[in-house]
Symmetry: C2
């Protein structure tokens, strides 16, 4: 461990950021979350946004993961190719301020002509493996702005696939012709299950979305079920793609409890078993493990 | 014809509106188009937006079609159920100002548990049939904010299906993590064709979209091809759904030339024949035919 005084851990995503003060023994202290994701910041505003973190949590070293290291973020931390373990991540940190401020690189995949990238989830995944929240060989579903289906073997991330479910639901909710019908909270009830069934069926998402509006307008669906159906449709299509070609292993669903609950329900509706893992606990385990390797 | 002085025809959509001064003999005169679609207006601002049309084109009667008659528009013109012909539309006009300002109703469909609605395209479809731009029995693809696949028999609209392709592409372009990669104009070239092929394959749209970003970041796709690939992916999925269960008839592709060109290319890539029909000419034929029936 490079920092006997402790450090600040930051999970800086597309739409949100979270920061924790970490004691030298790895215990998390004060923390906060806000909506200053990288999409809401210009490159030149990051130094001020970083100062604000130290103003709130203390003048400590910063170890940051997520989209802050992307081309849309502050300083680019180039992707490291899979398969990869936590040692590679720790060895490839980018230091905008030497010894003082570091960014964890993301992971990339090139496989069968398919390209994919990940930033932020890798810390949770390695952390969950290190803290034995998941087995060393695991199939993980990590919902968020961009859901990731991840295959882990011998503690290394072997391959993964990103599905743009969360961002698409938010776009529909914020900016689309469906927005005034998507205001209800999404619960894993009947409307959600009906949407999951359509998504698992392989109904094309774009071919089904407009029917949400038409069904409400023509009195075929209750307005308050529209958000659940739409979320279910997108998550059902996501689960169909993610489970494709997998064996019947239990799926570890890691992330924020409000999202893991929906994905676990959809995976069970697809006839598979799911176990939820708390993403925050996994992130803190991962960021501590990286800090120890510095 | 109720109006010997002529009238103003308005096609008022989700994202745009177009208005033409029409002579008593049906000839279009001065016209304009702007971005004041219904999504950019609040209900109480419609009277001013309508005054602005008369200020520009003359103090004449108004005959309006499209989303202006929806729940998101000015005054609701209830949907008329399919199958329907142009006589039903003309008989069901809604008159916010009697004799002076009318709104054409949309059409609805309830079939095999599926609900759908249409507003604005029906005028073009009936107009194209009336002006013999399309045969009385036809399969029409009508791209726009919401693409419609429409089955017409004996000059009546029998059934249709809406696919949310155009709006989804615009959401991705304006507001998503892909937005900085979707700035190029979309042309029916190699990038577009590669996207169409993926869409026609049945690859899930949400499962493919993120790969657009990853492929550019990892140097597997040129940044300037990303918009074409993304548009092709969405249109390919749309064409796959629209052609499903159809015989091998020629597809009439009606609408704005910049969009009909892309759909015609995708339909040909799917091994079918397509013929483009100008949507403006069809709209004017349809609105004249309705005006004559008043």
């Amino acid at each position: 461990m490079l920092w006997p005084e402790g450090f600040i851990a930051v999970d800086w995503g597309t739409t949100n950021r979270r920061a924790w003060r970490m004691a030298a023994d790895g215990k998390p202290g004060e923390c906060f979350e806000d909506g200053l994701g990288v999409l809401s910041l210009e490159r030149e505003t990051f130094p001020a946004a970083i100062r604000q973190i130290r103003d709130r949590l203390g003048d400590l070293p910063l170890l940051m993961a997520g989209m802050v290291g992307s081309t849309r973020g502050w300083v680019e931390a180039p992707y490291w190719p899979c398969p990869a373990g936590i040692e590679q991540l720790a060895a490839q940190l980018i230091w905008p301020e030497p010894g003082r401020t570091a960014i964890v690189p993301g992971l990339s995949l090139l496989k069968d002509g398919r390209a994919d990238v990940m930033r932020g989830e890798e810390v949770q995944l390695f952390g969950a493996a290190a803290a034995r929240l998941i087995p060393a060989n695991a199939l993980v579903c990590h919902p968020g702005t961009h859901n990731k289906w991840v295959s882990i073997a011998a503690g290394k991330i072997q391959s993964f696939r990103t599905i743009m479910t969360g961002e698409l639901f938010n776009l529909l909710k914020e900016h689309s012709i469906l927005s005034d019908m998507l205001e209800s909270a999404v619960e894993p009830g009947d409307g959600f299950a009906a949407g999951v069934a359509r998504g698992l069926d392989g109904a094309g998402v774009t071919a089904e979305l407009f029917s949400v509006r038409a069904s409400v307008l023509l009195g075929q669906r209750k307005r308050e079920d529209a958000a659940g159906f739409t979320s279910g449709l997108l998550i059902g299509a996501d689960v169909k793609a993610g489970l494709s070609g997998t064996d019947d292993r239990e799926i570890l669903v890691m992330g924020r409890p409000d999202l893991t609950r929906l994905y676990a329900a959809a995976i069970e509706l697809a006839g598979r078993t799911a176990r939820e893992v708390d993403g925050e606990q996994a992130f803190l385990a991962g960021i501590n493990a990286i800090a120890e390797l510095i």
